[in-house]
Symmetry: C2
């Protein structure tokens, strides 16, 4: 059934969003609050919020009947006015797009982007028990479209908010490239006077299994903590709900759909958050000073993912004209020996070439096998236990500063650890 036919049916039943309705389909009867149509849902579906709080979508066909049971109360339509609470810290919420930017209105079950503190109050009122919220939409884009230019805008906005009145900052962000952004902000933001918390949602908030509610509340609790780092707060996928606090440079999206898609790689997470924070790792504390946004970067870099069919010609066409190269090599950081002269050509021109491992876990070691030793001799910089993506982002930032090679060799924002944590292999430890 077409969307406009569904709208006609609803109009005939005098049913509006927020009203209690009944849908009869064959022998089944569904009763719940009519929710607004969501752009992620197919056009022939009506979503209702059941009494148990879960949302379901019902495919409407010509046989379906819709009946109005009860109109929504007039007073529930009015927006709740949120007053500033002097005793609570201020958190700045910066919206950039993605699934979490659509909030559930508890009164109606409505899904809509929160564009003001008032709207947010209607959707996640619990957040105001934690802090005062200043909400702002910086831009609205799917995160696959986010580029280094967006990172700069975010970094500047964060610094401005922290240097004004915000105790901490929450950035809502699509999950696809969230970890690239968290790495970028980790390098760009210095002397943080508050936590910068990136948060997303793997399931949109019109789905019963949505993680957006807990992720956002967890993010707020971390935002007012004494952490002075860029972190990612996402669901740990256990019950009762818990979120993991990941270091911005060590986190990676490891599943295309699970709520616990985000995992800290090669170290334990900083900690966890539910009603309170459970810290298990070391972190940088927030400072009293001014936060600086050092956004000078050069994004003319390339990431070479090594594989058995990659030829020297392929390699050269990928790196042609680039100012820096990250290789995701095999094992301890290897490539086919035929590529070594190509790499030597780059390094002799002063172009940094950084080796990481496509294994993701573990670290590069160019001292074990002869291939590694040849690569080291050819001037390759070991990325240690840095993720390939983090190394790529770091290289962009390093190239925006003097002596990129020296920067690549040292730890800037927790992206390289000296000692491996033996148990930090695959699924993160959960307390």
């Amino acid at each position: 059934m077409k969307r406009r036919d569904i709208q006609k049916l609803l109009k005939e039943a005098e049913a509006e969003e927020g009203d209690l309705i009944e849908i009869r389909k064959g022998n089944e009867i569904y009763k719940g609050i009519l929710m607004p149509h969501h752009s992620f849902s197919s056009e022939d579906v009506i979503i209702i919020k059941l009494e148990n709080g879960y949302n379901i979508g019902i495919k409407i066909d010509d046989e379906c009947e819709i009946h109005l049971i009860k109109k929504r109360k007039e007073k529930e339509k009015r927006k709740k006015k949120i007053s500033f609470n002097k005793k609570k810290p201020i958190v700045s919420l910066i919206g950039t797009g993605g699934t979490i930017a659509s909030y559930v209105d508890y009164l109606t079950g409505a899904v809509h982007p929160a564009t003001s503190a008032e709207e947010l109050a209607l959707s996640v009122p619990e957040i105001f028990d934690i802090c005062n919220v200043k909400a702002k939409i910086l831009f609205q884009t799917f995160s696959e479209n986010i580029t280094p230019e967006h990172w700069k805008a975010m970094a500047k906005e964060v610094a401005e908010e922290l240097n004004k009145d915000a105790e901490g900052v929450i950035i809502s962000h699509g999950t696809d490239t969230l970890a690239y952004t968290s790495a970028a902000l980790s390098f760009m933001l210095k002397n943080l006077s508050g936590a910068v918390v990136l948060v997303g949602s793997q399931r949109s908030s019109d789905r019963p299994s949505s993680d957006s509610f807990h992720n956002l509340l967890g993010a707020a609790r971390v935002a007012i903590s004494d952490i002075g780092e860029v972190v990612v707060v996402m669901h740990s996928n256990i019950s009762p709900p818990l979120c993991t606090i990941h270091r911005g440079t060590k986190v990676r999206k490891m599943h295309s759909s699970r709520r616990d898609a985000f995992q800290t790689i090669n170290e334990n997470p900083i900690g966890f958050v539910d009603k309170g924070l459970k810290i298990i790792g070391k972190y940088r504390k927030k400072t009293d000073g001014m936060t600086e946004a050092d956004v000078s970067i050069d994004s003319n870099v390339s990431l070479v993912y090594h594989h058995p069919a990659l030829t020297p010609d392929d390699f050269m066409s990928i790196v042609e004209g680039k100012n820096g190269v990250v290789i995701a090599g095999t094992g301890l950081g290897h490539v086919n020996e035929k590529l070594i002269p190509c790499i030597e050509e780059l390094t002799s021109r002063g172009i940094p070439v950084v080796m990481t491992t496509q294994c993701l876990w573990g670290r590069v070691n160019l001292n074990v096998y002869s291939t590694g030793r040849k690569l080291k001799k050819a001037g390759v910089i070991s990325g240690g236990d840095m993720l390939p993506e983090t190394a790529l982002v770091k290289l962009m930032w390093a190239l925006g500063h003097d002596d990129a090679i020296a920067i690549m060799k040292k730890n800037i924002a927790g992206e390289m650890t000296e000692r491996s944590v033996y148990n930090a292999y695959q699924k993160n430890y959960i307390p």
Copy 2:
């Protein structure tokens, strides 16, 4: 100390490989069997096998003293003659290089490449309790140097062995690109009349924690089973020792150094092996017919790893002149929307473009978000839950055959599963 000085010291002590010696270093005294120098060790180190069976390396300096305790018995120097056991199946062992190809000689503690069944007998005698072994070195190379041409040679050799007298085949292989080879052989080998077991070692066999011994014995047990697939047998890293049997198209090296680096992604492993096999998944059984090596491939393909700094120009220079492209996209299989016209240009020329996810776990779904729907409209083929590397290898094989696009859409060798296994996320289940 230089190697030749160490050799001089040993000569003065009249100590040869296999002899029991004593090394005095400061207040420490080390006693054990002198082992041959290994190319992976640094030149100033002597390796001895302690009484407890462990090997240690001792850094030799000018203060060290070396004393001969006992000469190796003459009869131990003779090679053991292995006789053919008619009651046991024949397994063909094909060596291609890598860490496992160096075997420990139990009599001397020596590490050397096994080039014959006799040498193997001296190193892992337990294997002859399982089967008769025909050993052959096909080539000796670090696996990072293995190319599609090597895959062809291996596939032909396997088919020849299985069609002659071998019940199953073991291929010893460096671990760096072992999973690429296992995927390639999975597509190339049809109607398998025996198991094809790829095996490697994460720790060279002169190290006490080496996995080569158990991996090789596990591989032999799987080689004589009724499995008719290409599988990878590697350590599960638990005690007592256990090895995991991974499907060749679903396995990936996930750690640069751990013994349990290999993990089955997006499904449970086929099973496990210690003294016997514990099967937990479905597998194809071996056939009675002739094994076919279908090695027609086109390796002129490219793998595009999407990231926020990747521009349309970058994309075009990576795919220029290629006959097929695999994209490791973000999340459910996305790229920046600016790349969509480039992709459309490729597909309009009949070039297959396959989408996979850089998350590795989970599956591509081009129906959820508008970016996915646009990509689908642009002719992108969904890789489902295929690994990016497996998709790349499959694409090479598909391009060697008629209608590559149709081949990419269907499951050929267990590389695509229809239903996701919820718990097959990160570390494999261990019984």
